[in-house]
C-alpha cells in the first residue's frame, strides 16, 4: 500500500532526558524516523525535553519543541500545531505512556489526531500485564505462570500457590524499575511494595521464576498488510535473571539449532501479528536450556534499545522502516538502503558475530550494589563486530574504556579457589572475568555452568581465550601463535605484556609476518548482493574490502564511545554535527565509534563508518588503510582527546587546537604559567601523586580542598575534602588505578559557578552566551541547574569573563571549541577549569541561542575565520528567551548509590525549560525533570549546622506555600527559635514514628536533606535512599531548594507558552 494521503503533519514524541533504561538509542531512532518522515514530504513537529539530542535540532524536524514531556504540555503543542497524526513509538516508554494517556481520556479524538505506527489497543495488549497474558493465552503462546497484583498481600497469596522464587515486574516502568527476584516472603514484601509505588497504574506482575533459562530476543517488523519479518535474533550470554540491558548480548544466537531458532521466530511473528503491530517490535523469550519449552517474557511494541542494537548489528534501519510503515508503506515497497537492490521485506543474514557489553556506572557509584537483576543499571553500551565470538568479545571489552583490555581483572588473582567459586554465584558486572579466572584455576566447565547457567559454548570460548593467554605467556611468538592471537583480537599491548615484549616490538614483529587488520563490510546480506554502504569492522586473516581511494580530502572524526555519566549523548551530538559540517565543506568524512545507541554510528551519517574500539591500535589500523588528511578529536569527549598523542605518532594531523595546547590546559604547571602571563587568578592549588603529598598540600592550603585526578571527564573521582581522613580515603580511591598524571589538590571557594563555551579561530573568539549555575561551586557543573543568559552577574564580572575567555583561548592557541568554568567570588572571577574541546553544554547553548557552534567550530578548524562566517566576535547578544538546563538523575535504579551532590558528576541526563520569563523557564525545567509539586504539601527538612541559617528562608517560603514541615530535633529547634512553625519528628534510631515511617506513609512530597560535605552519617544516607526508592523528590542543596521554591511560587500552568526553537 502506498503512503496514506491524510498524513501531512506528524507529531513525534521523544523520550525526554536520558535516564537508565531510556537513553541515547531513542535519539538515534527518533532522528532516523524524523528524517525518514521528512523524506516523504511530511511536516514533522517534535516534542522532546532533552536539549542534548540531535533529534531536537531544527535540521531534523520542522518544528522543535524542547518542552517538558507532560501531557498538559503535549496538549499545548497539539493545539498550537494541529498535527493530523502522532507517532508515539519512537520515544520509548515515556512517549508511549503520554500517547496512551491522551488517547484514553479521549483528547486525541476530540482534536481529531490519529495515532499512527500503533493503536492504543495494541499498546494496551502489549503493555497491560493482564491483557498481555490473555492475548498470549488466546494464541497459545506460553507465559510464565503469573498474576497481576495490586497489593503486597495478593502477591504473597499468589506466590504461595506457585512457590518461590518469583519475579516481580511493575507495569509501565522504565528499565524494569522496581522489579526484582524474591526468594522469600520478606524479599517479596520489599520488592513488591517498591514496584507498586513505582508503577504508573500501581500494578505488579508476580511471575514464576525462570532465572537460568536462555534469554533470546527477536526484533520483528510488521506492516499494515500483515507482512512480518525478523530483523535478527539475539542471545544473552547472561541467562534469564539479568535485565537484557545489563547482559552481554550476542547476535545472532549461537547455541540455538534451527528448530529452536525457527520455533521462537514463528512465535515472535505470531505475537506481532496478533498484536497487529505496524512497525517494529521486540519480543523477549526465555528458552529452557534442555527442552523445547519456552516462555514469552516481554513484548515492546515500539523501537527500543534492542532495536537500536539490532539495527547496528545488521545494518537494517528499524526506526526508518518503522516510520515508513506508519505512513502506510508495506515492507516490500521500502528499499533496503544498504544494498539498494533488495527491500525491507527481507531478513538480514549476518556473516560475522556481534557482541554488546553494557557500560555500568559503578565507577561513579562505588558504594552502590553491583548486583545485576531484572532492573537495568547500565548507562550505555558498546558493540563490537568480528568474524569470531572471541574476537568480538575482546574488542568489546577494550571498547568499554575501563582500564581492562582482556579477560583479566587483577582483583581475583590473589583469591583462593573456593572464593572464586563463591564469586561465580554472584551475578554482577564482573562475572565474565570471574569465569575466566575460574577457567585459569582449572575449575571444570560443568561446575562453572552449573553455578552460572552460562551456556557451555560461551564458557568454552572464554576458555579458548584463556588458553591463548597461556600460550602467549610461555611460547615463543611464532607467526602461527601471533596470527591466532590476532585472530582472537588480543591487542598488541596485552600480547606484549604476556610475552614480556614491548607493545612496539609486538607490532613490528606482527607487521614483519604480514599480520595486519583487514576490514569487512556490514551489508545485511552476507555478501549475497553488492552493497554500497561503507560500514566496516576489522578482523584478521581476511581479505580487505575497504576501497580507500578518494578524490576528496579525508577527515577522521573520533567518536565518544559508550554513554557514561560525564560523557553522554552531548558528545555524540557534537561528533555528528562536525561530520555534517565537514562533509558540507567537501571533505570525505570517516567516523570511528563503538556505541550502538547513537546517531553517529548510523551508517548514513558519515561517508564511512568504522565500528571499532577507540584505542590507539584499533585506530591505527584504520589510519593505515585510510591515510586520512587529518583527524578531529575535540568533539568526542575525553575518549577522543585521549587518542591525540597516538594519532600524532601515526603521523595524522590533528585539526584544530594542537596537542601541546590541549596538554597545556590539563598540565598544572604549564597551565599555571599561562594564567600568570594572562594575570588570571585561580584558586590556590598543588599537584601531588601520593597520599602524603596530598595531606601536606591540603594542610598548607587549608580545608576545604578539592581533590581530583587530571585528564578526566565528569569530575571522575573528584571530591571535596574537609579533613585528613577524607584526603586519605579519596586518594586511595583515585589510586585504585595507576595514575599517569598527577592528582590536583585545590583550595575550594564556595562562590557562584559560571560556564562559557566559545569558538576561537586563533584571533577572534565568539561567545554564544554565559551560563550561570544555580548551585554554588562544589557541585559538579553537569549536576547543577544551569541558566542562560546568566541572571545575577554584574556588568563588570561579565566583562571580566569575556576578557579572560579571550585571553585563555588565545594563549592556548585554541582553534575550535573551548569550554571554561569560572567561580565568581566576591565580584572576583577565578578560573577553575579549561577544556579546549567541546563540552556538555554545547548542544544546549547552540539550541537556545540559535548559533550552530559545532558547525562554526568545524569550519574554523578547516581555516575559516569567525568574521568570514558572518559573526561578530565577542559575546553575542542575549537571546529573548531564558533557557534552563536541569540535571536528571537515575538514582532509583541504583540500589545503595549515594545521591547527595558533590564535585563528582552523578546525573545521567538533562532537560530544558525555556520561556520568556525566568520563573516560567524554571517551572518548565522542574516539570521536565519529573518534579511535579505540590501533591500532599508535606515535606521533611534536615540541615547541617553551618547551613541552618540559609534554611530559614527556605522553610518560611515553603510554609507560605502551605507546606507542613517535619524536622528532626536540631533543625526543629533552630527553626522554632527563628519563628518557623515546624513539626518535630524522631531520628531513625529513636522510637517510632521516625522520619522513615513518615516517608513510608506516602504523604511526603519532598525531602530536603543537606548533608555536610564528606558526611558519612548513616542516617542521612538512609533517608535520602528511602525517599528516592519511594519516589519522593530529594534535594541535597539549599540552592536547588530555593530554585524549586521560586518555581512553585510562580506555578501557574494556565499561561505557559510552548516555544518552537526552530524560530530562535
Amino acid at each position: 500500500m502506498p503512503k496514506l494521503d491524510y498524513i501531512k503533519k506528524v507529531l513525534v514524541i521523544g523520550s525526554g532526558p536520558i535516564v537508565i533504561g531510556q537513553a541515547a538509542e531513542f535519539d538515534y531512532a527518533g532522528t532516523q524516523a524524523c528524517r525518514s518522515l521528512k523524506e516523504e514530504g511530511v511536516e514533522v513537529v517534535l516534542i522532546n525535553s532533552n536539549p542534548a539530542t540531535i533529534m531536537t535540532d531544527k535540521d531534523i524536524a520542522d518544528k522543535v519543541y524542547i518542552e517538558p514531556l507532560d501531557p498538559s504540555i503535549v496538549k499545548k503543542v497539539i493545539e498550537k500545531e494541529k498535527p493530523d497524526s502522532i507517532l508515539p513509538t519512537l520515544g520509548g516508554q515515556a512517549a508511549l505512556n503520554i500517547a496512551m494517556e491522551l488517547e484514553e481520556e479521549g483528547y486525541l479524538k476530540e482534536q481529531n489526531v490519529k495515532l499512527i505506527g500503533t493503536t492504543s489497543l495494541t499498546i494496551k495488549k502489549a503493555e497491560d500485564r493482564l491483557e498481555f497474558k490473555k492475548t498470549m493465552e488466546k494464541i497459545g503462546e506460553p507465559c510464565a505462570a503469573s498474576e497481576v497484583v495490586e497489593t503486597v498481600e495478593d502477591a504473597i497469596t499468589f506466590t504461595n500457590t506457585i512457590g518461590y522464587p518469583v519475579v516481580v515486574r511493575p507495569a509501565y516502568t522504565l528499565g524494569g524499575s522496581g522489579g526484582g527476584i524474591a526468594h522469600d516472603e520478606e524479599e517479596l514484601r520489599d520488592i513488591c511494595a517498591n514496584g507498586l509505588r513505582l508503577s504508573r497504574v500501581s500494578q505488579c506482575l508476580i511471575e514464576r521464576c525462570i532465572a537460568g533459562w536462555k534469554e533470546i530476543e527477536y526484533e520483528v517488523m510488521r506492516d499494515s498488510n500483515g507482512n512480518c519479518i525478523t530483523v535478527c535474533n539475539m542471545e544473552n550470554l547472561d541467562p534469564v535473571g539479568v535485565h537484557t540491558g545489563d547482559s552481554i548480548v550476542v547476535a545472532p544466537s549461537q547455541t540455538l539449532s534451527d528448530k529452536e531458532y525457527q520455533m521462537l521466530r514463528s512465535a515472535a511473528l505470531n505475537i506481532i501479528d496478533e498484536l497487529k503491530i505496524t512497525g517494529g517490535c521486540n519480543v523477549q523469550f526465555a528458552l529452557h536450556p534442555t527442552s523445547f519449552e519456552y516462555c514469552v517474557i516481554e513484548v515492546n511494541p515500539r523501537v527500543s534499545r534492542s532495536s537500536a542494537l539490532a539495527s547496528k548489528a545488521t545494518g537494517y534501519p528499524i526506526a526508518k522502516v518503522a516510520a515508513k510503515i506508519a505512513l502506510g508503506y508495506t515492507l516490500d515497497e521500502i528499499p533496503n538502503a544498504i544494498t539498494k537492490k533488495t527491500y525491507a521485506s527481507f531478513e538480514p543474514a549476518l556473516d560475522y558475530v556481534v557482541v554488546k557489553i553494557p557500560r555500568l556506572p559503578f565507577d561513579k557509584f562505588i558504594k552502590a550494589s553491583r548486583k545485576l537483576t531484572t532492573q537495568m543499571k547500565a548507562t550505555g553500551e558498546v558493540m563490537s563486530i568480528c568474524t569470531n565470538f572471541e574476537g568480538a568479545l575482546m574488542k568489546a571489552i577494550r571498547s568499554l574504556e575501563q582500564h581492562i583490555d582482556w579477560l583479566d581483572n587483577a582483583e581475583y588473582k590473589e583469591l583462593p579457589d573456593e572464593e572464586i567459586v563463591e564469586l561465580l554465584e554472584r551475578i554482577d558486572d564482573r562475572r565474565i572475568f570471574v569465569v575466566a579466572e575460574a577457567i585459569r584455576r582449572g575449575i571444570s566447565f560443568e561446575k562453572i555452568h552449573n553455578i552460572t547457567k552460562i551456556d557451555l559454548w560461551f564458557i568454552d570460548k572464554i576458555a579458548i581465550l584463556v588458553e591463548t593467554e597461556n600460550k602467549l605467556r610461555t611460547n615463543t611468538l611464532t607467526k602461527e601463535l601471533l596470527s591466532e592471537a590476532k585472530r582472537l583480537e588480543f591487542p598488541d599491548n596485552v600480547i606484549a605484556m604476556l610475552n614480556g615484549m614491548t607493545t612496539n616490538g609486538v607490532k613490528e614483529l606482527r607487521k614483519s609476518f604480514g599480520l595486519t587488520a583487514s576490514f569487512k563490510m556490514v551489508d545485511t546480506c552476507a555478501a549475497e548482493f553488492e552493497a554500497s554502504t561503507p560500514y566496516y569492522y576489522s578482523c584478521y586473516g581476511s581479505e580487505n574490502e575497504v576501497k580507500s581511494d578518494s578524490d576528496r580530502k579525508k577527515i577522521m572524526v573520533l567518536g565518544s564511545g559508550p554513554i557514561r555519566i560525564g560523557q553522554g549523548v552531548e558528545f555524540d551530538y557534537c561528533s555528528v554535527h562536525s561530520v555534517w559540517a565537514l562533509e558540507a565543506k567537501g571533505y570525505e568524512t570517516i567516523i570511528v565509534n563503538n556505541n550502538p545507541e547513537t546517531v553517529s554510528t548510523d551508517f548514513d551519517v558519515a561517508n564511512k563508518l568504522y565500528f571499532e574500539p577507540l584505542t590507539p591500535e584499533d585506530v591505527e589500523n584504520i589510519v593505515d588503510i585510510e591515510k586520512p588528511d587529518g583527524a578531529v578529536v575535540q568533539f568526542g569527549g575525553q575518549t577522543a582527546i585521549k587518542l591525540t598523542e597516538a594519532l600524532l605518532k601515526m603521523g595524522v594531523k590533528i585539526l584544530g587546537t594542537s596537542a601541546e595546547n590541549v596538554d597545556a590546559a590539563e598540565d598544572r604547571e604549564l597551565f599555571d604559567e599561562i594564567l600568570e602571563q594572562c594575570k588570571i587568578p585561580r584558586p590556590a592549588g598543588k599537584t601531588v601523586f601520593t597520599t602524603e603529598e596530598a595531606l601536606s598540600a591540603a594542610n598548607e592550603l587549608g580545608y576545604p580542598v578539592l581533590v581530583r585526578p587530571s585528564y578526566v571527564l565528569g569530575g571522575q573521582g573528584m571530591q571535596i575534602a574537609i579533613s585528613d581522613e577524607d584526603i586519605t580515603e579519596f586518594m586511595s580511591i583515585i589510586n585504585r588505578y595507576t595514575q599517569e598524571h598527577p592528582i590536583l589538590v585545590d583550595k575550594y571557594l564556595m562562590g557562584k559557578e559560571v560556564e562559557v563555551d566559545a569558538v576561537c579561530d586563533g584571533n577572534d573568539i565568539l561567545i554564544p552566551g554565559i551560563m550561570e549555575h544555580v548551585e554554588r561551586a562544589g557541585i559538579h557543573s553537569g549536576d547543577s541547574i544551569s541558566v542562560y543568559p546568566a541572571q545575577s552577574l554584574s556588568e563588570k564580572v561579565q566583562d571580566m569573563l569575556v576578557d579572560y575567555t579571550g585571553k585563555l583561548a588565545k594563549s592556548l592557541h585554541v582553534i575550535g571549541l573551548i569550554n571554561i568554568q569560572f567561580i565568581v567570588y566576591n565580584e572576583q572571577v577565578y578560573v577553575i577549569e579549561v577544556n579546549p574541546r567541546s563540552s556538555r553544554t554545547v548542544p544546549y547553548i547552540s539550541k537556545v541561542t540559535g548559533i550552530p557552534i559545532v558547525k562554526l567550530a568545524s569550519q574554523v578548524i578547516l581555516g575559516a575565520s569567525i568574521r568570514e562566517l558572518g559573526y561578530k566576535p565577542g559575546l553575542q547578544k542575549k537571546s529573548d528567551y531564558i533557557a534552563i538546563k536541569m540535571p536528571v538523575f537515575s538514582f532509583e535504579k541504583l540500589r545503595g548509590a549515594e545521591i547527595s551532590l558533590g564535585p563528582e558528576m552523578k546525573s545521567t541526563g538533562e532537560c530544558l525549560g525555556i520561556a520568556k520569563d525566568f520563573n516560567e523557564a524554571l517551572y518548565k525545567s522542574f516539570l521536565g525533570a519529573g518534579i511535579k509539586l505540590p501533591k500532599h504539601k508535606k515535606m521533611i527538612l534536615t540541615v547541617q549546622d553551618n547551613e541552618k541559617y540559609e534554611c530559614i528562608s527556605v522553610a518560611k517560603r515553603f510554609k507560605a506555600l502551605g507546606y507542613e514541615i517535619y524536622s528532626t530535633r536540631g533543625t526543629y529547634k533552630y527553626l522554632k527559635e527563628q519563628g518557623v512553625d515546624v513539626v518535630c519528628v524522631n531520628k531513625i534510631e529513636q522510637a517510632s514514628p521516625t522520619l522513615l515511617d513518615l516517608i513510608l506513609g506516602h504523604e511526603i512530597d519532598l525531602v530536603i536533606d543537606i548533608p555536610r560535605q564528606g558526611e558519612h552519617s548513616k542516617d542521612g544516607f538512609l533517608i535520602r535512599r528511602l525517599s528516592i526508592e519511594t519516589g519522593v523528590t530529594c534535594l541535597t542543596s539549599i540552592d536547588t531548594a530555593n530554585a524549586l521554591l521560586t518555581s512553585l511560587e510562580h506555578a501557574d500552568m494556565s499561561h505557559l507558552e510552548v516555544i518552537d526553537i526552530a524560530t530562535i
Partner: protein
C-alpha cells in the same frame, strides 16, 4: 592438515582439512542461512555441489540427528570459516567433524568464506576442487572446468515405493488419515513428507523412475512433486511422466525441482541463475494477496518468465529482490507449484500454510 580449495578461475584458498580426507571436484555454491547446517548437509538438492556457509561459526549446537532431512549427507564437500570445538545443545549427539567423517564428506575450514562468496556472487557459481595434496594448478584447472553436475536425481531418489502414515518421521500417530497423497521423490526432504503426515495425509513415495499411469491408477487425492538437485532439463524421462500427471485431474502441488519439472513438462523453459538462491531469508510475494513471506530457498535454476504461455500458467509468487518466478498457478488445472521451500528446514516456516492450501485443493 592443510587443505586447499582451488576454483576454476584459479583462485586458491588455503585452510584446514575437515571431515574425510579425500579429494573432490564439485560445483561450489554458498548458503546464507545462519542456522540449520545439518538440514543443509542432508538436503538431497545439494548433491553434486559443495556448500559454503556464509555464517562463520558452524557446529555450535553440534549434530541433532533427528534434524536430518534425509538418510545421509549429500554435498560433495563442506566449506566453513570456523568449526566449533564445543558443540552445545541438549540434543547434540556428535560434532559436525564426526558427522562429516561418518558420511565420508571432506571439507575445508579456516578460509575467508566471505571473500569466496564475493567471488561466486561476482563471477557466478563455479567449480572447484578441495584437496589436501600438493597440486599443480595448470594440471588441475582443466579437470575442475570439465566438471558438471549430472545424474544427481537418480542418485538421490529412492529405489522403491514406500508408504508413510502419521506416526512416521516423528509425527503424531493419533492424527486421523483423511487424504492419500502420492509423492514423487526427485530428492525429497523429510519435512515435505512430515508436513503432509501432520495434516492427516497418508503418503506413498515413488522413486524418480515412477510410472505416471501407476500413480494415477492408485487414485491419490493429490500428488506432490518434491525438491531435488541438478539441472531440471536433464530429467527427460521424469518430465515426460509429469506431463501425464498434468493431464490427469489430480490436484498437484510441486516444490522447487518439482516446480521446474512441471514448467518444463508444460512447455516453459528453465535457465541457470548466476549464483542462485540459497538461504533462509528470501522474500516471496503472493501475487493474489500481496502478502510477502520470508522463505527458505535452494535453487540454481529458475523458470524463465518469458517462456511462460499465459494460457497454461501464470506467476503466483515472485521474488521481491530480483523479480524471478517463485510460484506458478496452472490455468484450468488444480495445480500449484512453488520454487521456494514451504517445508522450511532449515529456515522460516512462514509459508508452511501452503500445505493447507494443498489440502484444500484436494477437498475442492
Amino acid at each position: 592438515m592443510k587443505a586447499y580449495l582451488i576454483l576454476e578461475d584459479g583462485t586458491v584458498f588455503e585452510g584446514e582439512s575437515i571431515g574425510a580426507k579425500k579429494e573432490v571436484i564439485s560445483e561450489i555454491v554458498f548458503n546464507t542461512s545462519m542456522t540449520g547446517y545439518l538440514e543443509v548437509l542432508t538436503d538431497p538438492s545439494y548433491a553434486g555441489q559443495s556448500v559454503v556457509m556464509t555464517y562463520p561459526l558452524i557446529g555450535n549446537y553440534g549434530v541433532c540427528l533427528s534434524d536430518k532431512e534425509s538418510v545421509k549427507a549429500w554435498p560433495d564437500a563442506f566449506i566453513v570459516r570456523e568449526l566449533s570445538r564445543m558443540p552445545s545443545n541438549f540434543r547434540n549427539e556428535m560434532t559436525i567433524e564426526q558427522f562429516l567423517e561418518n558420511n565420508d564428506i571432506p571439507g575445508i575450514a579456516g578460509i575467508d568464506t566471505r571473500a569466496l562468496t564475493k567471488i561466486l556472487r561476482n563471477k557466478g557459481t563455479m567449480n572447484g576442487m578441495i584437496t589436501t595434496e600438493n597440486y599443480n594448478i595448470d594440471y588441475v584447472i582443466d579437470a575442475i572446468k570439465k566438471y558438471s553436475v549430472t545424474g544427481v536425481v537418480k542418485k538421490v531418489s529412492r529405489d522403491s515405493i514406500k508408504r508413510y502414515v502419521p506416526g512416521d518421521l516423528g509425527t503424531n500417530s493419533k492424527i486421523d488419515v483423511e487424504k492419500e497423497v502420492a509423492v514423487i521423490d526427485v530428492g525429497t526432504k523429510n519435512n515435505i513428507i512430515r508436513c503432509l503426515l501432520k495434516r492427516g495425509c497418508a503418503v506413498t513415495v515413488y522413486p524418480q523412475n515412477f510410472k505416471a499411469n501407476e500413480v494415477i491408477a492408485s487414485k491419490p487425492d493429490g500428488i506432490m512433486i518434491t525438491n531435488g538437485p541438478g539441472d531440471p532439463k536433464e530429467c527427460v524421462d521424469v518430465i515426460a511422466q509429469i506431463k501425464e500427471l498434468y493431464n490427469s485431474d489430480i490436484p498437484i502441488f510441486a516444490i522447487c525441482l518439482g516446480h521446474q519439472l512441471m514448467a518444463l513438462a508444460t512447455g516453459a523453459d528453465t535457465k541457470k541463475m548466476k549464483y542462485g538462491h540459497r538461504g533462509a531469508n528470501h522474500p516471496v510475494k503472493d501475487l493474489e494477496t500481496n502478502r510477502v513471506y520470508i522463505s527458505s530457498q535452494n535453487h540454481g535454476y529458475v523458470v524463465d518468465e518469458v517462456s511462460l504461455d499465459k494460457n497454461v500458467c501464470v506467476p503466483a509468487f515472485v521474488n521481491v529482490n530480483d523479480g524471478t518466478i517463485e510460484g506458478l498457478k496452472y490455468i484450468g488445472k488444480n495445480i500449484f507449484t512453488v520454487q521456494f521451500h514451504p517445508e522450511a528446514c532449515a529456515g522460516p516456516r512462514d509459508s508452511e500454510v501452503l500445505f493447507e492450501r494443498f489440502i484444500k485443493m484436494m477437498e475442492d
